[in-house]
């Protein structure tokens, strides 16, 4: 346990040290921006910037990769690509719109449109059934109407 904490601390130190080493403000902003577009894989299910664990080793490791890449002059897509190579697709906050993962993006839209078609169809069928249905009832006789009015007063009072 103690040893593990120590290793974590070393990582934090390493990351902080790397961070401290001459990043221009512009580079720092870039690192921050990329941190919003890559997941922390410690199990927190948030992005690197949002990970709630202050001394998260995973976050530090990933950030170190980003910093190294940024220093090497890579732009954001390239850094992300590098992260995906190193850690897998799960580092992306949402699935890439390619191959099977494309269905993730398409299906909700298909569902929405399909639902619309069904809803419009239902209203249409309701309307048709109405037109084909029995014609208007003849006016009810006055006695009945009087009884209805009386009952209505009784119920609603």
């Amino acid at each position: 346990m103690r040893a593990r904490i120590f290793i974590v601390l070393v990582f934090v130190f390493a990351a902080r040290a790397a961070l401290a080493q001459e990043l221009t403000p512009q580079q720092e902003a870039e690192v921050h921006a990329i941190g919003n577009h890559a997941n922390c894989l410690c199990g927190c299910l948030t992005t690197i910037n949002e990970c709630p664990h202050p001394h998260c080793a995973m976050k530090a490791q990933e950030r170190a990769v980003i910093i190294a890449d940024v220093k090497a002059g890579d732009n954001e897509p390239k850094v992300i690509q590098d992260l995906v190579l190193k850690y897998g697709v799960k580092i992306l906050p949402s699935p890439p719109a390619k191959g099977f993962n494309l269905t993730a993006w398409i299906l909700p839209g298909v569902g929405l449109l399909g639902g619309l078609v069904v809803a419009v169809d239902i209203t249409r069928r309701w309307r048709k059934a109405r037109v084909a249905g029995p014609a208007e009832q003849p006016a009810p006789d006055p006695n009945l109407l009087a009884a209805i009015e009386e009952e209505m007063k009784d119920v609603l009072s």
Partner: protein
């Protein structure tokens, strides 16, 4: 100690659960009463329409519906209510015919039995087993308590 209490509680509850099964079948508790009779259902359906009419009247007064739509829809609701009212009257008439026969039979029976034993409904002739204000079968008032 605690275990004993737990088992005792369980046994007590089990006894309460079994007790109704041991009671003799009979009385007005015999079968599950109908919650809403067909007659009452017709009236409830009319009540829904009345509520709709009330809403419609209100929306018209509030100026949300034009006069033409309002008249047409009100007419529509009224004729729906009229149909339900007719259905009500028909089933009532049927009940009356059945009730007449049952009443005669009941009267026959009543003559051959001491009257205090049962609470015969004056309308449908059903013999209620316990003192009741309303008939358990048709819901009519039992005479003398108007």
């Amino acid at each position: 100690m605690l275990l004993g209490i737990a088992i005792l509680i369980t046994a007590g509850l089990a006894f309460l659960v079994v007790m109704p099964l041991l009671a003799a079948e009979g009385g007005s508790e015999r079968a599950l009463p109908i919650d809403v009779t067909p007659q009452a259902d017709l009236k409830r359906r009319r009540a829904v329409i009345y509520e709709n009419i009330q809403d419609l009247d209100f929306e018209h007064k509030a100026g949300k519906i034009s006069g033409e739509d309002y008249q047409a829809m009100r007419q529509h609701y009224l004729s729906e209510a009229a149909q339900l009212m007719l259905a009500s009257e028909e089933s009532e008439a049927m009940n009356d015919r059945d009730a007449y026969i049952e009443r005669e039979v009941a009267a026959c029976r009543a003559r051959s039995r001491p009257p205090q034993e049962s609470y015969v409904c004056p309308k449908c002739g059903y013999e209620n087993a316990v003192p009741v204000k309303f008939c358990g079968e048709c819901g009519a008032r039992i005479a003398g308590k108007k």
